[in-house]
């Protein structure tokens, strides 16, 4: 047993750190570190910088233009990138549809789509959730009817994160309405410019436009844009979800946000003493930091098991639950740390270049919005209730 990284891994970490220090644009870093609004361009710009370095696909095999990094190297990269204030990689292309294409896609699909994912020239979104199919994904109703070499797709998708930017959507559709729910599903790649697609914004409680509804009305999708077999889409869908949950613990991000919390707690005072020296407040922060330490090791244990060529298993549910609880706990404390100024909700002041009158310390501006936004963590990606079902059934056999 050795909890230390190897000298090689430490050298790799240093290389990543040096690269980030040199290459991460200061304006992007500023936004990330301070919880401000990131634009589409910020994500694209950063992905292009990574791509130019050859690091566009940290989790991809070399065959497809990826880095070929080990799970530990990917972890180190993600941790350092988060600490440095790099934007989180938009997962829909890189981490969701790409692994499916690599595993189940045709060579033609791989050649057509993978390069532009790496280079951020095409933006992907998800077409899984539907208004009636959330936790119970297999109850989806969007229909695809084969007509010659096309499918005609009708239905509605929802919670489509950053769908307003998307060039392509990977989409679960029902191709056999007679079959059992999980049987008659197919996995299609849909060009968002196809006639019949309407993207409507869903505004969330922090005032953000991050998610969308996508309406599909007689949308023609070439059969060649189907992944794998017709009616076998559930297999690919589950494969994708399994991959989606790796790195979901978000240790790097949690560490960065905890550092933000401690930074602010050292600046705010209570009875003339830095808040971080207040016994009750310090105990609450300590509890979070301790839990995070434990989760980091738990995460490394799971990684270590994966490195031993085991697929991500139900342990990922542990990481999802604890990781999201911790990230939410940190944003809760961030609201507590700034006092009454945490009441403000000023999206205009969360955008880069805001020049208006100040309201409270700069750091207080996005705290409430960040808290509100993070409520989604325990809901999406398989709600934490679903994760507990998985633990009970898959780990405990109940």
């Amino acid at each position: 047993m050795d909890l230390n990284f190897t000298p090689e891994e430490n050298a790799f970490r240093q290389e990543v750190r040096d690269f980030l220090a040199q290459s991460l644009p200061a304006d992007i870093r500023h936004k990330v570190i301070n919880g401000m609004i990131l634009e589409r361009d910020d994500y694209v710009r950063w992905q292009k910088i990574l791509h130019a370095k050859g690091w566009g696909g940290p989790s991809w095999k070399r065959d497809f233009g990826g880095t070929g990094w080990s799970a530990t190297e990917q972890y180190i990269f993600e941790e350092e990138a988060a600490a440095a204030g790099a934007p989180r990689a938009i997962p829909f292309g890189l981490k969701m549809v790409a692994p499916v294409m690599m595993q189940y896609g045709s060579p033609g699909q791989q050649q057509r789509f993978l390069p532009s994912i790496l280079s951020a020239d095409e933006w992907w979104c998800q077409g899984y959730s539907e208004p009636g199919a959330g936790s119970d994904l297999a109850s989806l109703k969007t229909r695809a009817v084969r007509e010659g070499d096309h499918y005609i797709v009708n239905g509605q998708k929802t919670w489509t994160t950053q769908g307003q930017y998307a060039d392509w959507m990977f989409c679960l559709v029902r191709t056999d309405p007679e079959a059992k729910p999980q049987r008659g599903i197919s996995f299609l790649l849909i060009d968002m410019k196809t006639p019949g697609i309407t993207v409507r914004p869903i505004i969330t409680m922090d005032g953000a436009h991050e998610v969308n509804e996508v309406w599909l009305e007689d949308v023609k999708v070439p059969v060649e844009n189907r992944i794998g077999e017709e009616n076998a889409g559930w297999t690919y869908a589950k494969f994708l979800l399994g991959h989606e949950r790796t790195n979901i613990a978000g240790i790097g991000i949690a560490k960065r946000e905890l550092a933000r919390l401690k930074r602010i707690a050292a600046l705010e005072t209570k009875h003339g003493r830095p808040l971080i020296k207040d016994p009750l407040f310090a105990a609450r922060i300590a509890q979070i930091e301790i839990d995070l330490t434990a989760l980091e090791i738990t995460n490394l244990r799971v990684l270590s098991a994966e490195a031993a060529h085991r697929a991500p298993g139900p342990e990922a549910s542990i990481l999802k639950i604890k990781g999201t609880e911790l990230q939410q706990a940190i944003t809760e404390m961030l609201v507590q740390v700034a006092g009454p100024y945490a009441l403000q909700l000023r999206r205009e002041a969360m955008a880069a270049g805001y020049q208006g009158d100040p309201v409270g310390p700069f750091y207080s501006v996005p705290l409430a919005a960040n808290y509100l936004n993070m409520r989604k963590l325990s809901i999406y990606g398989g709600s934490n209730e679903i994760q507990k079902n998985i633990i009970a059934q898959m780990i405990l056999g109940l």
């Binding site: 109850s139 009454p340 009441l343 009158d357 310390p361 509100l372 934490n384």
Partner: protein, 382 residues
Amino acid sequence: MDFGYTEEQQMLLDTTRRFVGKDYGFEARRRIRESAPEGFSREAWQSLADIGLLALNVPEAEGGLGGSAIDTMLVMNAIGEGLLLEPYLASAVLATRAIALLGSGEQGAELLPALAAGEKIATLAHDEPASRFDWRSIETRAWRVGSGYVITGHKSVVPHGGSADLLLVTARLAAVGEHGPMAVFAVPRELAGVKTVPFNTIDGTRAAEVWLNQAFLPESALLGNGGHEAGDAEGALEQIIQAGIAAVCAEAVGALDKLLAATVEYARNRKQFGQPIGKFQALQHRMADMVLHIEQARSMSFLAAVRCADADAAERRRALSAAKVVVGQACRFVGQQAVQLHGGMGVTDELDVSHYFKRLMAIELQFGSTDTHLEAYASQLA
């Protein structure tokens, strides 16, 4: 021991609920929030005046209803149910009580009828950037100059500070750095030397930063006209803040009830895996936990209303801090679980759920956070 309301109180509650039900549905509220420049409706405000609610905290001697804290509790219950955006708490509770408690007869006669009639709006401008949740710690200073006072300071997150005609500004009567007695000045928002910067808060209302830069005030602006002994206003201010705590506790209970009802309704109708999600035992138990929190919060809202007029200052502090803790914890738990149980819909602006959630979150932070009151209570344990 009596948990009932008098006939008049029941009428007051019914009247307020009727107003909320008729004129303040969720869509009406959305229109106000999205289009009214001040973030609330002057028309609704006038309606509140017309049905007499703005006179509730005005003493009978000034032509008001001279209502009790229980009466205010009932109105705030209904306001919480309807998530009213209007400055009822700011103007009709806090400012009105401040003037009634601290003002001279003349000041009361001049200001209170206008507040009761809805002709003027007032707000307490008390918190400051450095005060955090410690209401005693303020740095705004006023000192005598000729026939009046010069006042300088920075008041933060003043509710409806951009709309109020009158700011009730707290200051210490001393040079900067010295610790003088606390005083309250009635400051017209348009006065020279006063700058307000309004902004949106999480609960859909607007607050303002207020800077007072050597603003000159006539002697008559000092509530009580200087007749108070040193430190007098501090005791009164504590009581006003405690009335505010009781009021938001009641508002929270109204919002909590609605939020639970919405969640139960959603759980009955939303189907997943072939059955309503309300049939899943883990979610049933979560909702049972919401009930536990809400009933404890309701109890403490009663206690807060009853005790905020208590003559015993120590008992008052204990009760109000205890109430704020229980209610604040209910706000957190019930709010978060209501959102969670609504799934993705819970985080949207479209449903009322997120709006209740945000108002409850704001209540948690108003008049001192949960931990602030827990510590205040703990320091008095014996």
